[in-house]
C-alpha cells in the first residue's frame, strides 16, 4: 500500500487547540502547515487545474467536525438492510479506487481528519447509553478508510479501547490497507471487528490503485486474528469481467488459507453500484478501467447496478465457493431486495430486523466470552438465548 504523506497541512483555527492535531503534526515532520479560519474556505487552487480530485488529496485538513458524528448507514433505505451505523472521523481516502463514491460525494477534494475526537466519543457514549436495550454495530469506513491513515491519526488507539468498554456496541474498522500496527495490544474485549474489503488481485491492480495487495490484506487479517480480533470480509464491490469466476474463486480460497473461519464474524457480498455521474467521472479519470462497461441498469436511488440475473449469478457462485470452504460462516447481501436474496441464497431474511438481529447475535456472542454478564438485553441477546 502506498503510505499517505500530504504535501501540506491546513489547520482549522479551533482544531489547533485539540491534542490530536499536535500529535498528527508530530507524525508528519517537514510537512508545511498553515492555520486557516474555516475548513470550508479551502484555497481555490485546490479546485483548479487537471484532476483536482487526485491533487486535492495532497492537502490534509485538520478540522473540528460540526454536527453529529454518528448516523444511520445510507443503505438503510434498502428493502433488506443490516441496520448499521456509521461514525465519520475523516472525509476522503487517498487509496484511489476507481469506483469510489467519495469522488462525487464529497464537496472538497482534500483529505479531512476531524480532531475533536472527545466529541465523537462523547456522542457515541451518549447515544448508546440512551438505548441500553439496543445493540449497535458502528463502522468508521463510510466516508474514509478506517485504517489507511491510522499511522498518522492513531484513531484506532482511542476508538478500540473505548468500544471495548461499551456494553452495547461494537466497532467495525473497514479497510483496504494493511495499517494494523496500532491494533496490537489494544484492550478490544471482542468489541472490534476488523474488516477488509476484498477483490481478486487483478481487480486490485487495475482498480484499487494505491491499496494494499490481496496478500498484504490477508497477512494483516491473520495478525489481527492472532491478536484476538473478530474479522469481517466484504466482497464489495463485486466486479464482473471476463474471467471473474476463476479469480473470485481463487480469492475465496486464499482468504480461507489465511484465516480461520471461526474468526470471521461475517462476510458481505455487494455487486458494484454507482451513480451515472460517477460512471462518467470514472471514464474520465481512469480511462483504462473496464468497470464502466458492465451491463448496468438504473436501480435503487437511481444508482446503476448490474442487471439482476448477473448479480444473482455472482452472489450464488460466491456463496457456493465460500460455503465449500467454510460452511458455517455468516454471509449476507448488502443493499439487495428479497427477490435477489431468495434467488441467490435460496432464502431471505423476513425483514430488516431479522438480518440485523442475526448480525447483532454474531458479535454479541463474541463479546460474551470477554464481557460475561454484560451482554445487553437487546435484539442480539434474544436471538442468542
Amino acid at each position: 500500500m502506498l503510505p499517505y504523506r500530504p504535501s501540506r497541512i491546513l489547520i482549522q483555527e479551533q482544531s489547533g487547540r485539540d491534542a490530536l492535531t499536535g500529535e498528527i503534526l508530530s507524525r508528519l515532520p517537514g510537512v508545511p502547515a498553515t492555520t486557516i479560519l474555516d475548513a470550508g474556505g479551502l484555497p481555490p487552487e485546490i479546485l483548479c487545474g487537471g484532476d483536482p480530485r487526485g491533487r486535492g488529496k495532497q492537502t490534509l485538513v485538520l478540522a473540528r467536525h460540526r454536527g453529529n458524528f454518528m448516523k444511520e448507514c445510507p443503505g438503510s433505505g434498502a428493502e433488506i438492510c443490516c441496520n448499521y451505523y456509521v461514525v465519520n472521523f475523516a472525509y476522503n481516502c487517498h487509496l484511489e479506487c476507481t469506483y469510489c463514491i467519495l469522488q462525487t460525494y464529497l464537496n472538497s477534494p482534500a483529505m479531512v481528519v476531524f480532531t475533536n475526537v472527545e466529541d465523537l466519543v462523547r456522542e457515541v457514549e451518549e447515544k448508546l447509553s440512551a438505548e441500553p436495550d439496543a445493540f449497535f454495530r458502528i463502522g468508521t469506513g463510510e466516508m474514509a478508510d478506517s485504517l489507511a491513515l491510522d499511522d498518522i491519526t492513531c484513531y484506532s488507539r482511542i476508538l478500540v479501547p473505548f468500544f471495548g468498554r461499551l456494553p452495547n456496541g461494537i466497532l467495525e474498522l473497514k479497510t483496504k490497507s494493511d495499517r494494523i500496527a496500532n491494533l496490537e495490544g489494544l484492550d478490544h474485549r471482542g468489541h472490534t471487528v476488523v474488516s477488509w474489503s476484498l477483490n481478486p488481485a487483478a481487480v486490485i491492480r487495475s482498480d484499487e490503485l494505491k491499496t494494499a495487495t490481496l496478500q498484504e490484506r490477508l497477512s494483516a487479517a491473520r495478525k489481527c486474528q492472532e491478536w484476538g480480533y473478530r474479522l469481517g470480509f466484504h466482497f464489495d464491490p463485486l466486479i464482473r469481467y471476463e474471467g471473474w469466476e476463476g479469480d473470485y474463486e481463487k480469492t475465496v480460497g486464499e482468504l480461507f488459507a489465511a484465516v480461520e473461519p471461526r474468526s470471521i464474524a461475517w462476510i458481505s457480498l455487494g455487486a458494484l453500484r454507482f451513480t451515472p455521474h460517477l460512471r462518467d467521472l470514472l471514464k474520465e479519470r481512469f480511462p483504462k478501467s473496464k468497470i464502466p462497461y458492465g451491463e448496468f441498469v438504473p436501480g435503487h436511488h437511481g444508482k446503476l447496478r448490474y442487471f439482476r440475473p448477473i448479480r444473482e449469478e455472482m452472489y450464488s457462485k460466491m456463496l457456493g465457493w465460500i460455503r465449500r470452504e467454510a460452511p458455517g460462516v455468516f454471509v449476507y447481501l448488502c443493499m439487495e431486495s428479497r427477490v435477489v436474496w431468495e434467488r441467490s441464497f435460496g432464502y431471505a431474511p423476513r425483514a430488516t430486523s431479522d438480518l440485523s438481529d442475526r448480525m447483532d447475535a454474531l458479535v454479541c456472542g463474541a463479546c460474551r466470552g470477554t464481557l460475561s454478564g454484560e451482554i445487553p438485553e437487546g435484539r442480539g441477546r434474544r436471538l442468542l438465548t
Binding site: 473496464k290 441498469v297 442487471f307 440475473p309
Partner: protein, 321 residues
C-alpha cells in the same frame, strides 16, 4: 471612404484568412449581381508583400468572377491601417451585423483569431464570443476550435442538418480516422438526434470493452451489412444499427427481452392484452393490461387470460433471467 474599381486579377482569391462564410457560392447572389449589379463595395487589404487580400466580400467577388466581370467595386485599405486581427474583426462584425453565423462559420472565425492571429484565449472570450452570441467559457471556445478541424464529410452532414451540433462537437474531439468512418457510415443512414447520441455512446463503449479503436466497431461486417442493405430505408437502417449495437453492448438484457417476448407469444395472448415486465426485470413481476369496449369483448379477453393461465409457457414469463 474611397471606393474604387479594382481589377479582378489583383485579388488573391486563394487567401481565405478572413473568410467567415461556410458556403461561398450561394446561387441567389449570382442572380442578384447579374440583375442589379454590385451595390456594396467589398473590403480589401493592400498587402505589403503585394496583392489584395479579401476581408469582406468573398461571395460577391467569386460570383462576379463567375459572371466574367473584369472589375469589382472595392474599398482598399493599406495593411498598416488594417492589420490582420483588425481585418478579421471587421469581417466578423460585417457578417454578424446582418445574419447569424452557423456553428462552422463561428468555428472558422475563432480558429483564425486564436491560431492565425495568435490572440490570447482571454481576449477571445471577452471580446469575440459575445459578438458571436456564444457563452464566454473556455469549454465552449475549445469545442468550437476543435470543430474547425472537423472531417469535411461531417461538415457537410452538419450543414445538411443530418447531424446535430452536439454530435459533431463530440466527433470533433475524436481521431480523424473515426470521423471518416462515421461520416461514411452516415452517408446512407439516418439517425434521430437522440439515436445519434446513443449510437456514438454504444460505439465508444464497445470499443473500450474490446480494446479496439472506435472505427473498428463501425467496420464490423454486421454494421457494414446494415449500411449496405438496399432493402432498408435510411431511417430503418438507423434503427437497425442502434438495435445491433445495443445487443452487442448489453447481451444479457437483450436476451432476457427476447425470452420475454417469446414467452408472451407462447401463452397466446391477443395483441390487445399488454404484458410488461418490471423495469429491467428488477423483480419477476409482470404487469397485464387490457381494454375492452364491451361486455362481450371483456369476456373474450378474460377467456384468453384464463387460457394463458393454464398454459405451460406461463412459468417462463416469471423466470426470465
Amino acid at each position: 471612404m474611397i471606393v474604387e474599381d479594382v481589377r479582378m486579377d489583383r485579388v488573391e482569391f486563394e487567401d481565405e484568412t478572413c473568410r467567415i462564410s461556410e458556403d461561398l457560392d450561394p446561387p441567389q447572389l449570382e442572380s442578384s449581381l447579374r440583375e442589379i449589379g454590385q451595390v456594396n463595395p467589398v473590403v480589401l487589404v493592400d498587402k505589403s508583400s503585394g496583392g489584395l487580400m479579401i476581408v469582406c466580400g468573398f461571395r460577391r467577388l467569386r460570383a462576379l468572377r463567375r459572371l466574367g466581370r473584369p472589375t469589382a467595386l472595392a474599398r482598399i485599405l493599406p495593411e498598416v491601417d488594417l492589420p490582420l486581427p483588425e481585418a478579421l474583426r471587421l469581417a466578423l462584425w460585417e457578417n454578424v451585423s446582418h445574419r447569424e453565423l452557423s456553428p462552422l462559420e463561428a468555428a472558422r472565425a475563432l480558429f483564425t483569431l486564436r491560431h492565425i492571429c495568435g490572440l490570447p484565449e482571454e481576449s477571445i472570450l471577452e471580446s469575440y464570443m459575445p459578438a458571436l452570441r456564444l457563452a464566454s467559457h473556455p469549454h465552449v471556445l475549445h469545442g468550437y476550435l476543435s470543430l474547425h478541424s472537423l472531417h469535411p464529410q461531417l461538415r457537410a452532414q452538419l450543414n445538411e442538418g443530418r447531424l446535430t451540433l452536439a454530435t459533431v462537437g463530440y466527433l470533433a474531439s475524436k481521431p480523424s480516422t473515426f470521423q471518416g468512418a462515421f461520416a461514411s457510415l452516415m452517408a446512407g443512414i439516418r439517425l434521430t438526434a437522440s439515436l445519434q447520441r446513443q449510437v456514438l455512446e454504444l460505439v465508444a463503449e464497445l470499443a473500450a470493452l474490446n480494446d479496439c479503436p472506435a472505427e473498428a466497431v463501425l467496420e464490423r461486417p454486421e454494421v457494414i451489412g446494415i449500411s449496405s442493405d438496399a432493402s432498408l430505408a435510411p431511417q430503418e437502417k438507423g434503427q437497425r444499427l442502434y438495435d445491433l449495437l445495443y445487443r452487442q453492448r448489453f447481451p444479457r438484457i437483450s436476451a432476457a427481452e427476447d425470452r420475454f417476448v417469446a414467452a408472451i407469444s407462447e401463452i397466446g395472448l391477443p395483441g390487445d392484452v399488454q404484458v410488461r415486465h418490471d423495469r429491467y426485470f428488477e423483480t419477476p413481476s409482470i404487469h397485464v393490461e387490457f381494454q375492452a369496449a364491451s361486455t362481450e369483448r371483456f369476456r373474450v379477453l378474460a377467456g384468453t387470460l384464463d387460457n394463458a393461465a393454464q398454459s405451460p409457457g406461463l412459468e417462463k414469463l416469471f423466470q426470465i433471467g
